[in-house]
Structure formats: C-alpha cells, structure tokens
C-alpha cells in the first residue's frame, strides 16, 4: 500500500515537472509560429436559423487543408464534431453545437446536414469538390458551412467571408510543402458580412458582445437541459410497475412449466 502510494506520488511529481518544462517551450514555439504565420483563411458557418459564426485562421505557407483549418478554428472556440468514414475521410456532423446530437452515421435520410462550400477570391462560393479530409484551401480562400435541409429551399452558401480576415497582409514567405502550426483568431460573429478591425498576427481581438454567444450558449443549454424530475419519476414508476408485473407473470408460469 505504501509502495503504491509512493509510486503515485512520484508519478505526479514527474508529470508536474514535465508540464512546467513543456509549457514555456510550447508558448515560445507558438509565438515563433505566429510570428512567421502570414496567410489567412476564413471559416464561415451559417446555422439553420441564419445565425453566422466566423473565424479567421492564420497559418504560414501558401495552403492549408480544410481539416487543419477547422482544427485551428476549434482552438479559437468554434466547436465541431466529425465521424470517420474510413478511407473516405471525416464527415462534419456538428458545428457550434448544431445539431445538439447526431446518429453514428452523422445524419439520417431526412435530417439536415452541414453543406460544405469553398470561396475563391473573384469566384465566390462554390460547393466543395471533396470532403473535409480532401479539400485544400489557398491563402485568401474561405471555408463555408451551411446547415441545410436535404430537400426544399434554403440550401445556398453562407454569407460572404469578406472582412472576416484582414484584407491587407504581407505577402506569404514562399515555403515548400504545406502549412505549419498556425493560429485561429476569434472574430466577433455577425448576422452578415461587415468590415471588422483586423487584429495583428498573434493577437486575438477581444470580441464585442453580440447575440451569438448567447445563442450558442442557448444551443448548448438546450441540448443538455434535463427533462423535469417529475417526468423521470413517472417513467421510473411505470417501468418498475411493468417489470414487477412481468416478473410476477414469469414466476406464475414457471410453476406450470
């Protein structure tokens, strides 16, 4: 017992030491990466009720994968969830807690889904040619999402990403290959495109209060709000009563069998 306690204490001390050493290294690495990062990709997600969430993803290099862009956006507070389709890659099932829950296959034959769009400067929005795991975005492009029904109207692209990211940025340093670790800067979300002050690289602009955080919180709260305790009590009583009846019937039948 004493030996186990001592081993646990030693492990805890070691972990604490490693965390203390690792944190400044990570910070400095991030700082170095941010200093070098100079390319931007905007992420725009439009909910079914029209509310829009935007993020500006900063990275170094000339291109970034859509999956990596979403990962960076999630670090800036844009929640999303995916399901793996094996060799076909990942499918996005939930963005910013919409829908509150989803089936293992991501959607059903009738449920809405997150349609993926890609923006190219001068060309506007177009439906993505591939999925999250296969699409690559160049600097200045935008990744768009819109939660739409499987049939009927309302399936257009999200609002324009103009203004989400700083328009004037130093030309990216030509590097071979894909981007390195970058950062995502949260932008205050609006109900439509509007010019915003551009934060400098590596600094996250504090978001002014908008309706978006409350809506997001409401979406989260709605998904986790429990049914009344009276209803649960009723369900328990009903289930218990039926189980007792079934047990009584089974005991009665056993005597005959």
């Amino acid at each position: 017992m004493m030996r186990r306690g001592a081993a646990g204490l030693l492990a805890g001390l070691l972990l604490g030491f490693l965390a203390a050493v690792a944190t400044p290294m990570a910070t400095s690495r991030t700082g170095c990466a941010l200093a070098a990062a100079s390319s931007h990709v905007a992420v725009v997600a439009e909910h079914s009720d029209g509310a829009v969430v935007t993020r500006c993803v900063t990275f170094s290099g000339t291109s970034i994968g859509a999956a990596q862009a979403m990962q960076l956006a999630s670090q800036a507070g844009l929640e999303y969830a995916t399901v793996s389709y094996g060799s076909l890659g990942q499918a996005v099932c939930q963005i910013d807690h919409e829908p509150q829950s989803f089936p293992p296959g991501c959607w059903t034959t009738t449920s809405p889904y997150w349609a993926m769009f890609v923006w190219h400067p001068g060309a506007g929005w177009s439906l993505a040619a591939g999925g999250l795991s296969s699409v690559t975005l160049a600097a200045g492009d935008a990744l768009g999402w819109h939660y739409i029904p499987q049939s009927g109207s309302g399936g257009g692209p999200p609002p324009s990403p103009v203004g989400v990211c700083p328009s004037a940025s130093p030309p990216p340093t030509p590097t071979a290959g894909s981007s390195s670790a970058g950062a995502a800067e949260p932008h205050p979300s609006t109900s439509g495109p509007s010019p915003l002050s551009s934060p400098s690289l590596g600094v996250a602009t504090p978001s002014p209060p908008t309706a978006r955080p409350e809506a997001s919180a409401a979406r989260r709260a709605a998904g986790t709000e429990p049914s009344g305790w009276m209803v649960w009590l009723g369900a328990t009583v009903i289930a218990g009563g039926l189980s007792g009846l079934a047990a009584a019937r089974l005991i009665g039948l056993r005597k005959h069998w």
């Binding site: 089936p103 209803v231 369900a235 189980s243 009846l245 079934a246």
Partner: protein, 276 residues
C-alpha cells in the same frame, strides 16, 4: 381480448416503437409488450427467447465494433483491422443498446399474433382484405408443410439405401418434395372450391361476430399511437442520439401518457383475470 383487438393493439405498439428512438420510451413499450406476450403466448415466448438473445447480441456487437464515434473511448482495436479497427466508445455501445431495445420491442409487439390461429387472423381482417389474408395464410402454411415433407422424403429415401453423395444426389429428395408441394397446392385449391371460395362474401357463424368487435384496448392503443405521431410532427418528441457525447434522453409528460395508453391491456387484463 379478441383477435381483431389484439391485432390493432399490436399495430399501435409497433408503430409507437418505430416512431421514437428514445430508449426510455422504447424500454417502457418493451415491458408492456412483454407483459402482453406473457399473458397471451407464453409458450411462444419461450421459443422466441434464443432468437431475441441472438438478434440483441448481433445488433450490439455491430454497433460497438463498426461505429467508432463518441467522446468516451474505453478501448482501442488495432487500426489495421478492416472495419472494426479504431476506438471503441461508450456512445456507440449506448446507441447499440437503444437499437436492441427497439428490435426487441418491435418483435414482442407482434409476438402474441403468432400464437393466434391463422383462421382467426383471417377472420379479423376487414372484408376488403380477406382474399389477400387468405392468400398470405395459405403461403405461410406452405413453408412448414414443405419442411415436414422434406424430412419425411429424406427418411424414406434413406430407408431405400439413398445416401447424400454431393449436390446431384439431392435431386432424389428434392424432386419428390416438389411433387408433394404441387399436390398439396392442388388439394388446397380443391378444398377452397368445395367451400365456395370466391363465389361471394365470406360468411361466418353468428358467434364469430363477437370476435370482430374492437375492444377498448385497441382504441386506447391507437390513441397512444396518435399521440406519438402528433408529438413527432409538433417536434415534442425529438430523436435521441448519444453523439458526440452521452446525454439524458428527452422525456415529456405527453409521451409518457401515450405509453400509459398502450399499457392498459397489460395491466387491465391481469386485473380482469384475477377477478373472474
């Protein structure tokens, strides 16, 4: 509870199970159907238990091994394994349990009908469906008859020195079985013709008319199904999924009330039996 009432109640219970994927509602309906099955067809339920266990195990394993979504990982299979490789999550197991509940509830909702005489089932059908019901009943009777014939012919051939020696040798059994099946269908046609089948509306003894009255259990069950349907349309019965993380299923008082409407045959019957 006459056959017609039982049939309508089974339909209502099956419809309710298919309209919701909430595990609490499904569990309650499962318990209701179990009680009714224990009351109506206990012997049939005994034979159904291995099938229920097998389907439940299969559905559970499929969801656990093939669905790798969810936040709570409790084990990992090597990614090299095709299809099943990857993280095993609590959420996938919960979804599998939900599927099993639905399967069992659906099977048990119609299990009592399996104990009913097929002629009573045909009697319970509305006039417009009597011919279709007769055809289905005849087709369903055909299968056990063929199985019985197969066994009898195989035994008879073995006594004559026949032994299975590959696919071609089975022709000595299959041909007589087919001939017997054709003879049985000709006999059935002769019997139907002798009873004036197709010459006019189906007649029945006056006593059987009482069997066609729809009891309150069926009406209440159908009312429960209507409540389920209305709740789904109005959005008061959202679908439950355990992804991305496990949450408590949403319950509502109207949904529970609809389950209660379905449960009356399970409760009232017992009370009736104990008082008569």
């Amino acid at each position: 509870m006459n056959t017609r009432t039982l049939g309508l109640w089974s339909l209502a219970a099956l419809g309710a199970v298919l309209l919701t994927n909430d595990p609490v509602y499904r569990a309650v309906i499962l318990l209701i159907c179990l009680n009714v099955a224990l009351e109506v067809a206990p012997a049939g339920l005994r034979g159904l238990t291995p099938a229920l266990a097998l389907t439940g195990l299969g559905a559970m394993l499929m969801n656990i091994l093939l669905a790798h979504s969810g936040d709570t990982v409790y084990a990992r299979l090597p990614a090299a394994l095709p299809g099943i490789g990857g993280p095993l999550t609590v959420e996938s197991a919960a979804y599998g349990a939900d599927v099993v509940l639905g399967l069992w509830a659906a099977i048990l909702s119609v299990a009592p009908l399996s104990a009913t005489d097929p002629s009573l089932l045909v009697d319970a059908l509305p006039r417009s469906l009597e011919r279709a019901g007769s055809a289905v009943a005849a087709a369903l009777q055909f299968v056990p008859a063929v199985v019985h014939n197969f066994g009898a012919v195989a035994d008879a051939q073995r006594m004559r020195g026949w032994r299975p020696r590959g696919p071609r040798s089975w022709a000595e059994v299959l041909v007589p079985v087919m001939v017997d099946a054709l003879e049985d269908s000709i006999h059935l046609a002769e019997m139907l013709e002798a009873r004036g089948y197709g010459s006019g509306p189906r007649t029945r003894y006056p006593a059987a008319a009482a069997q066609r009255r729809i009891g309150p259990q069926a009406w209440l069950g159908l009312a429960g199904l209507a409540v389920f349907f209305a709740l789904r349309l109005a959005g008061g019965m959202p679908q439950w999924y355990p992804l991305p993380h496990l949450t408590a299923p949403p319950l509502s008082a109207p949904g529970l009330a609809a389950c209660l409407l379905l449960s009356l045959p399970a409760i009232r019957w017992r009370w009736l039996n104990s008082t008569t």
